[in-house]
Amino acid sequence: MTMMAPPAAAAPAAFLVRRRRSYYWFIVPALVAVGAVIVFPWLFTLWMSTFDWKIGTTAHFVGLENYYKLFVSRRFHEAVLHTFYFTALAVIVPLVLGTWAALIFHREFPFRGVLRGVFVMPMMATPVAVALVWTMMFHPQQGVLNYLLSLVGLPPSLWVYSPTLVIPSLVIVEVWHWTPLVMLIVLGGLAALPTEPYESARLDGATEWQLFRYITFPLVAPFLAVAAVIRTIDALKTFDTIYVITGGGPGTASETINIFLYLQAFAFYNIGDASAVVVVFFVIVLALALVLLYVRERAKWQ
């Protein structure tokens, strides 16, 4: 026993170690890829954000000055506010409308399949093309939207050409474009719902609203949470629509963090400042992601 025991005990351990070692090599390609395209750029951005560097000049170290500049920049503060304002509207409105649309399309009615297909068509269009078409429709003199308003006797609106209306107008484009996505997600959720709770609720005399409020809504909540996460990510990173339609204008009225960042990096070539914006933006996204994760956990079926 005493003679046999050590080898017997050591054998599986040694075998395991060898096994682990041999498998380690398989994750090396993934590690290299992640390191090269995610970790390195991140560290490099972080490093660059501590430099005063305009392309074409020599960079010099300034510590946290770039962050301080952002901290006191009114334009950046406004950009953050615009981003939150835009994101909130561009998440909530499609969620409400998308859920509503899903409830309608969940019912049986003639040509349901065809109409569902028509409804999701906006999603298939390229954002830049969509933005260009909407730009024409928003035109205060020649746009079709003001023509439509005039048909129902309403005064013309300035849409994206007005500093106060520009963000809601841009949200209209987002809503048109992305409500179908929310609808699809919620529709998938509705299809998976059991029918029994509805039957028993009807027996107890529940109204349609009560059915939705106490059965449908809690049951599709996890799907809504997924839709909310996807929409939030999309809305936060929205660049193409805003850039094409307003370029952040009039003035700076629709300048979001992304537009501000684009200007710093690719119009003014202030790489140091732009890197600092990226880092701040990353922190904001991270914080929002944590909040959303928390909401998702809460929404899960218990």
């Binding site: 305009k54 392309i55 074409g56 000049t57 020599t58 035109h139 205060p140 003199q141 020649q142 013309p156 300035l158 849409w159 994206v160 050409y161 007005s162 500093p163 307003t246 370029g247 952040g248 204008g249 009039p250 003035g251 700076t252 200007l263 690719f266 119009a267 003014f268 070539y269």
Partner: protein, 452 residues
């Protein structure tokens, strides 16, 4: 006033320099010089036969024109041209990144003087063409350097005297006006700034959807509209010590004029208008006056696009209280300093800015040539699409033209900061405080760029 110290002196120096250059080039021109040149080292378009050059152009009517005739250059020289044409903004970004890498993928680059001149010049990114011009074996005896207009050469000459490009096109700003609307209300084309405001007030008719005046309101794009007024008020951008002049009384008066014309007599939503929105309004006959660069005659006279064919007047920028100036843009072509094919690239430059191409540009109304000969040829040519008044307007404007943007490195940032101020004015902000705020914001940016 004091801004003239900088501008006029600079202009004089440039003129002197040009004269010198012209004289130098004359040696290579017809007559005795040419004979001598032939005797020494004959110029031969086929000298670089079999080589290949890369050309980096901007997507514009000018870029289209050159691309269309590249075959002609290839046949004449035996040099193969690889060309890339990219929209303006992307072209500028790519240029900066490539030049910074120290090794460009292109040999020839098209540049916009009003944005890139100082940046390219300060970094010496392009080759000084003066030695090439002087080399008789490399310069076509028919180049006729003296034919380039003063305005064009002012653009192509750097403050230190280097000539690092050949000019191709200048773009003075003019007022397009709708003759029908003017006649209907019996208004004459304005001769002064005050008359511009008067005319705009008389012609503005919101009930009929007609605006008295339209121009760019979109930030960044709108700055030359204001500088068109600024120069007439006798103002300038930067003094010789690098101090901004954008909060002076002249600058604020110009800003007030901008605000009055656009906010009071402009169309609804003009704060978001770039040239294309302004153009489409004017094309529909819904604006009495439109201030912009001169290169838009073609769509205005195109019956498939325009409702006002034959009714468009082309007016020279009226005189301001201090001066009559047409704000000017311009573009040209230079050779990348890192190019290993400077000879073939120089051949390309000579061809691009030659008399034939310059005349073609006028013929197609796609820009304002920098060669005087193009206009002379146009006056006797029947094959010109552009209206006579347009050509006359261009000739006069070119004579009173001055750069419409400051010759500094961070031009884009300048346009952004002051563009926002101007857009805010359309939406009701006070011109004086906006100009002061923008000046305070931009001065450190300018100081930094000059120190670097």
């Amino acid at each position: 006033m004091n801004r003239d110290d900088g501008n006029t002196r600079e202009a004089q120096r440039r003129r002197l320099l040009q004269a010198g250059l012209g004289a130098a080039a004359l040696g290579a021109l017809p007559g005795v010089g040419q004979l001598a040149a032939r005797a020494q080292a004959p110029f031969d378009w086929k000298k670089f036969k079999g080589e290949k050059i890369e050309v980096f152009l901007v997507k514009s009517p000018r870029g289209d024109l050159l691309t269309k005739y590249h075959k002609e250059f290839e046949d004449m020289t035996g040099i193969t041209v690889g060309s890339e044409m990219v929209p303006e903004q992307q072209q500028r970004q790519k240029a900066v990144i490539e030049f910074n890498s120290g090794n460009t993928s292109f040999d020839v680059i098209a540049l916009s003087y009003h944005v890139q001149k100082r940046q390219f010049g300060k970094n010496k990114w392009m080759v000084d063409v003066r030695p090439l011009l002087a080399d008789k074996s490399l310069t076509d005896p028919g180049l006729d350097f003296a034919d380039f207009s003063a305005g064009g050469m002012a653009w192509a000459t750097q403050p230190d005297g280097r000539v690092d490009s050949l000019p191709f096109n200048i773009d003075p700003w003019v007022i397009y006006y709708n003759k029908e609307l003017f006649d209907a209300k019996n208004v004459a084309y304005p001769k002064s700034f005050a008359e511009v405001v008067d005319a705009a007030a008389k012609l503005n008719d919101p009930g009929k959807g007609v605006s008295g005046f339209v121009a760019r309101g979109l930030k960044n794009a709108n700055v030359p509209v204001w500088s068109s007024f600024l120069l007439g008020y006798g103002g300038g951008f930067v003094d010789s010590k690098g101090k901004l002049l954008t909060d002076t009384a002249e600058a604020i008066e110009a800003a007030k004029m901008y605000q009055t014309l656009l906010a009071k007599y402009g169309p609804q939503g003009v704060a978001g208008f770039n040239w294309n929105e302004a153009q489409s309004l004017f094309l529909q006959g819904k604006a009495a006056m439109w201030l912009d660069g001169i290169g838009f005659a073609q769509p205005l006279e195109d019956p498939t696009k325009s409702r006002i064919v034959g009714k468009v007047g082309y007016g020279v920028m009226p005189a301001g209280p201090k001066a009559q100036v047409s704000a000017m843009f311009g573009d040209g072509e230079g050779i990348s300093a890192s190019s290993k094919k400077q000879g073939p690239a120089w051949f390309y430059l000579q061809w691009a800015s030659n008399k034939t191409n310059q005349f073609r540009m006028l013929q197609a109304a796609s820009g304002a040539p920098v060669r005087n000969s193009a206009y002379i040829a146009a006056q006797s040519s029947a094959d010109i699409k552009a209206p006579k008044q347009w050509i006359e307007c261009m000739l006069t404007s070119a004579r009173i033209a001055q750069p419409g943007l400051p010759l500094i490195v961070p031009v884009t940032e300048f346009r952004d900061v002051f563009g926002i101020a101007l857009t805010n004015m359309i939406n009701g902000a006070d011109p004086a405080s906006e100009m002061k705020k923008a000046t305070a914001e931009f001065q450190p940016v300018l100081d930094k760029s000059e120190k670097a």
